[in-house]
Structures are given as C-alpha cells and as structure tokens.
C-alpha cells in the first residue's frame, strides 16, 4: 500500500465522528439523488412512450403548416404511393396513412363535436396503440366499411354501444358539406381522457369518400424501432419525398413540442434543487477538511521542516477527501439503490399525484428503475464537488511557514 494512501486513511480515522458525519452528509444527498433521478428518468421515458405510442408515432410526413393548423386542404398528395415508397426504401413496416377532420357526431339523443380520423385498417395497429385498446367489439378490417371506432367516454356521453349507428356532419376537403352514417364497430379505452373523449376513427377508404379526399391524406405516420434512430430515418424519408414537393418530415419533438419542453422545465427545476444539495455537501466537506488541516498545523510544520513539500501535503489532504468521497459515493449509491429497488417493487406514489400524472399520460404509481447512470450520475457530481471544495484547505498549505507552524498549538 502506498504510503500517502496509508497516511490519508489513518488520518481520516483520527476523528471518526467527524469523518462519519461528513460521509453521512454525502450519503444522505447521494441516496436522495439516486432515488430522485431514477424516478424522474423513468417517468420521462414512460411519458414519451405513452404519449407517442398512443397516436403520434415518431415521425410524420405532412404538408407544411398542417401540424399547427390542421386544415383540411393541407394534404399530402398521392399519399398511398408515398407510404409504399417509404415502406420499401427504408425497410420499416410500421408506416401508416392517416387523415383527420372535425365533425359533429350524433347518436339518437346526443351530439358532440369530435376529431374524426381516417385510419388504414391494415397498418394503423402498427403505429398506434388505439386499435389494440378496443375493449368492446373490434377495429374495422375493411378499408371501405362504413364503420366507426370511438373512445369510451365519448360512447358513454353519446349513450351508444357497439352496433349502434352514428351520423357524421362536417365539411370536406373542398369546403363542401360532408355527411355519413357509420356503425360503431368498437369502443377503445386508452385511459387518456383527451383521446377517450374527443376522438373517433373510421376506415381510410370510407373517410376519403365522405370528406372528398381522393388520393390525398393528411399524414404518414412512422414508428422507428428505437427513439435514437429517429433522426437517421427522418433524413432518409426526407430524401424519398417526390422531387419538387414541399412536404415536410417532422420528428416527434416537432409534433409534440410540449413533451420535451415539459421535461426540460421539470429537469431545470430539479437540477436547481440538486445543485443546492451538492453545494451544501461541498460546504460540509470544506469545513471538515479545513478543520482537519488547521488542527494539524503543528504536525504539518514538523513534516515540512523535515523536507516534505507543501504540494505533497496538499495531495495528502485531497487524497483524504477522495477516500471520504468514494465512501460517500458507494454507500450513497447503495442506500439510494436499495430505496429505489424497494419502490421498484412496491411502486411510488404521493397524495394527489394521480391527478398530476394523468395530465402527462402517466399512471398514478411509478416503479422507478435504477440504471448504472441513475445510480452514479448524482453521486459522481457530489464527489467532484467535494474534491473541488477541498482544494481550498489543500492550497492553504502553500502559505504555511514550517517554523511558525511548529510553534502553533
């Protein structure tokens, strides 16, 4: 064992209470950081997945401006041919064409304004979880069937069930009057109130007839195998667009800008809190190391007059901090990991959280998952902060005069 290391280790245990209290501060902050970060990042992933899987997909090809305005005439021309091109050229099979219109949907005794989507029965299930969430009945299988699928809340409000007929009233792509009658073939229950209350889906061929879409559609929805691949596929799809077309390819962040921003907003407030914790621990370490340097002034004076350089002594003080920091990091990750593990089985909840969670398409109980990153990201920052704060006591040694120091009590 290296002599400096051995010295540093023994110095730490000259004052076990002080050392433990300092390590305690680290362990407390680290454990908290590990748990909070595991919880947060788990929540973010879930939030992104739940939101995108339900409907949005990862990439959409649209007419410019459609994303914000949702106007009927902002269409992708010859949409089916383009979708086939994308399927063939990228090798992705999770590609579906979708169109949308606002319509008044009426049952025998109720009417509601909803957003009606035309979805391709063959491919929709691969880009959206809604077809899979049909609880009663089934999702249409024939692209031209006069059938409609609605959300559970809408069904309750319209007082209808599978097999009943609904009337659709709206305007077509050219602004003309559009009307149709469709039979309810299924009712989905996504648990996302917005979708369950406001959305209906009809087969694409039927939609095209009713709303005079001809061969145009509003969006091609693409789901990539992995969130990290989105950018690569996005530029690949961009290169497949017909020459001279002004179509745009949006990634999920452009389609749901609120999602990333909500995460950023949450992260920045969280980072502020974490930063404060790290600073407090750093002060604690600085105090401890300053004390331990000051009380050894006499001793340092002697070893310096024997020829030890201030630089080497400084390294000794830093090494002591490193040892403490490592202990704090490991114990903190251990305690934090244990807390996270416990909650990953039992779930974490907080009074009132179900209401907040529903706003972000989240369940009311979370099961945080610790990963190597969430286990060590926080503790690593605390570690670095501690080392930085110990440089002040370590640097003070350079101003130490051996003779004066030896006289110190």
């Amino acid at each position: 064992m290296n002599i400096t290391l051995r010295l540093a280790w023994r110095n730490l245990w000259r004052q076990p209470r002080r050392t433990w209290l300092t390590i305690g501060a680290m362990v407390f902050s680290n454990a908290l950081l590990v748990f909070m970060i595991s919880l947060q990042f788990g929540m973010y992933d879930l939030m992104i997945d739940n939101t995108l899987q339900a409907f949005t997909g990862h990439i959409q090809v649209q007419a410019p401006g459609y994303k914000d305005d949702l106007k009927m005439r902002q269409v992708v021309p010859a949409v089916n041919a383009l979708a086939s091109d994308i399927r063939r050229e990228t090798g992705l099979d999770r590609v579906a064409v979708r169109s949308a219109a606002f319509a008044l949907v009426s049952s025998e005794d109720r009417s509601y304004g909803v957003q009606v989507f035309g979805a391709d029965p063959q491919h929709e299930a691969q880009v959206s979880s809604l077809p899979g969430l049909v609880r009663d009945g089934r999702f249409p299988t024939d692209a031209n069937a006069q059938e409609i699928v609605i959300g559970a809340v809408l069904a309750r409000n319209l007082r209808v069930s599978v097999g009943d007929e609904l009337t659709l009233l709206g305007s077509g792509r050219d602004g003309s009057f559009a009307a149709a009658v469709a039979t309810i073939s299924g009712i989905f229950d996504s648990g996302i109130a917005d979708l369950d209350r406001n959305i209906a889906e009809v087969p694409l061929g039927f939609f095209n007839d009713v709303f005079y879409m001809e061969d145009a559609g509003h969006a091609i929805v693409v789901v990539t195998p992995n969130l990290d691949d989105v950018e690569a596929y996005r530029s690949r799809i961009e290169s497949l667009l017909p020459v001279g077309s002004n179509l745009v390819v949006h990634d999920w962040n452009a389609l749901q800008p609120g999602l990333k921003q909500a995460i950023q907003a949450d992260l920045s407030s969280a980072f502020f809190m974490y930063g404060v914790l790290v600073v407090l621990v750093a002060f604690s370490v600085m105090n401890t190391q300053l004390m331990s340097v000051l009380e050894r002034t006499h001793e340092f004076g002697i070893v310096m007059s024997l020829g030890l350089t201030p630089g080497r002594l400084g390294r000794l003080v830093l090494l002591e901090t490193v040892l403490m920091g490592l202990a704090g990091m490991l114990l903190g990750a251990l305690v934090g990991g244990a807390i996270t593990l416990w909650f990953s089985y039992n779930g974490f909840s907080y009074p009132g959280m179900d209401q907040l969670a529903a706003n972000f398409n989240l369940p009311s109980r979370f099961y945080p998952q610790a990963t190597l990153l969430t286990l060590f990201a926080g503790p690593a920052v605390v570690f670095i902060g501690s080392i930085c704060s110990a440089t002040y006591p370590a640097l003070r040694l350079h101003w130490l005069h051996p003779v004066e120091a030896m006289r110190a009590v």
């Binding site: 004052q15 606002f102 609120g258 909500a262 407090l280 105090n287 009074p351 907040l356």
Partner: protein
Amino acid sequence: MNYAGIIITLAWRNLWRNHRRTLIMVAAISVGAWAMIFMTSLMRGMVNDMLRDGIRVLPGHVQVHHAAYRDDPSVNNLLAMTAGEVSAAMTAAGIERFTARVRVPAIISSERESRGITFVGVDPRQEALLDAIGSAIVEGEALSGPDDKGVIIGQKLADKLDTRVGKRVVVMSQDPDNEVADRGFRVVGLYAANLAVQEETYAFAGREIVQAMLRIGDGVSEVAVSGDDYRDVSQLLAQVSALMDEQDEVLPWQELDAYLGTMLGVMDGFVLIWVIVIFLALSFGLVNTLVMAVFERVREIGLMLALGMRPSSILAQIIVESILLLVIGLSVGNALAFASIVPLQDGIDISIVAEGMEMFGASSVLYPELQMNDVVLANIVVLLLGFLASLSPAWRASRYEPVEAITKV
C-alpha cells in the same frame, strides 16, 4: 452582567474564535435558506398563476350544475331553475358576482374549416364582474348584452378557422330532442388568453341567442358565483346551496377542477418536504461544527466545570452558539432571497418551454411570489430542527468529568 448575558457573550465570542469555520457554516446555512425561500416562491408563483388562469376560464369560485352535467355536458342536462329565477334568487340574497351560462359542445365552421369547441352563451355584463377570459378583447369589440347576435372567439381559433372579425361562422350543436341546432354568427371580437388551448376551445355568444338556437327557453347549464377569496369558499358554498334547487350539484372550484385543487395541496406538501430536505443536508455540517467546537475546547470546558460553572450553563452555551450560528445564516439567507426575488417581480420569461409549461397548465411567464407564511415556515423549521440537532453535542459537553477533561491533551 446577568446570567443570560454572560452565556450569550461567551457563545458569541466562541463562535468567532475560529472565524473561518463559522463563516463556512454561515455560508452553507445562507445558501440553504436562500434556496428554500427562492425555490418556494417560484413554485408558489407558478401554482397561483395556474389557479388564477384555471379559475378565469369560466370563473366562479362556486358553480352549480345539473347532477349529470359534469360527466355529460349536454343540452339535456340543464339546471332546474331558469336564468330569470336564478337572477331573482341571487339578487334577493344580495349576491352580485354571479352569472348564468349555457355551455354545450359544438362544431364551429368557417367557409374553409371546422373545429370542435365549447360554445358558451353568456350575459357579458355579469361575466365581466367575474373577469372571464372572454373579457380580454384584443380585436373587434365585446358582446353588448345577452341578446347580442355576434360571437367572440379566441385568436388561435380564428387563425385555425381562417376567419377574422366581421366574417361569418356557423355553429352547430343539438337541441334537447337531438335535432341539429345551428345558426350563423358574425365574429364581432377576438380574445386573448394565457393558454393557447383556452383560446382554441371556448367561443362566446349572447345567452338569449344561444338559448333560442338550442330551443331551451330560459334554461341554463351552469351558474357561477364568486366571492372575495378563492382559497376560502365554504361560506359562499353554503349560501349558494341554500338558494339553488336541491337536485342540482353545488361545488367549489377545488372539486370542479380536480387538477387545480390537487395542485394546491401538493404544493403545500412540497414546500415542507423541500425545507426539510435542505435542513437535513445542512444538519450534518451543523452537528459536525458543534462537535468540533466542543472537542477542541474539552480542557476549557473541564476548567469551567471545575471552577463551579453548572453543567446546564455549558449546555445552554453550546445551544446558544448553535442558535446564533443559525440566526446569522438565516438572516443572510433571507436577505439574499428577498434581494433575488425583488428584481424578478416583473416575471421570468420561460417561453422557450411554453408548450411544456402548458402541459402543466401554466403560462410562459413565471412570477415569483413570496408568501410570508412560507418564509416563516422555513425559518421556524430550521431553528427548531437546528435546536434539536445541537442537543446531542451540547449534552455531551455538559456531561464531561471535570478532572478527566482538564487532563485531556
């Protein structure tokens, strides 16, 4: 000099024997106290803003609906009383800030586009008393009375419908027999709201015109009443309940908007947790400082005991030392917090994450709000827990055996 004076003087002088250590600790406490108050005021500002925005949509601290209306906001679920009866009852009871609305789901169409909206028939003079969103007209003019034949829509909705002030739109809904009820309206004004989704959702027209269109006589969907303070509505609730038909549901806003109601509770919990977490992070350093202060004075304490100072005085001295340290730190921290919040009174622009904040239901300008009870809570929690944390080192110091302590090196 009296006894307390001596103890305080001793504690004060002891504190400055090692001014570096004391200053580091004061710095740590200040940062902690600043973070507690600053963060709390930001969160408070955000939540209060959300509450105000949320309540402003269709305001009314207490609202009355048909028992089934909230789940099924249909024209069939009207109040037992008519607008005229409500008005007479309220006026007789001396309530001024009330309004009766018709509120139904509808489809609004311009020449080019259709959208699903919530169509609200209002008496504009009564709404103005409650400061509803539709009162912030940015273009055109407000509705003149319940018989005004125009419609007021949000700026965002006007964009999406490709319409503007002076143009005509058609609103389609249903009457109680589920016959289509529609009518053409001229857009007379555009309003602005803090949240984009509000501008897109609500359209306002004269109540009498909407009643005629829906063929519901003088029926209304909701009555809203406001008091002076949105936090305490129990008295208003009782007063309104007594006036209304007992079949109808009278609810305070906290229960009408469960999300907002919960937010307030969650915030109170969050403030306390945040204060305690910061304190715990601080406490390790605090206890450490006290332990060191006692440890380096063992001989001196032994001498004082031997000279006849009572152990309780030693105990008091250490505790006073700790409290003084906390008071200095807290004062600096509070001053820092005030100093950093005052320049931010005009709001912090966080529009880069506006769409994310909208998911929380918050707007893109954050106004920090310093609430005295939060400041008092933070200070009291720190002082109280600080006192408890210093008991152990102080107790140990007072229990020294004088002879052993004096002879300790």
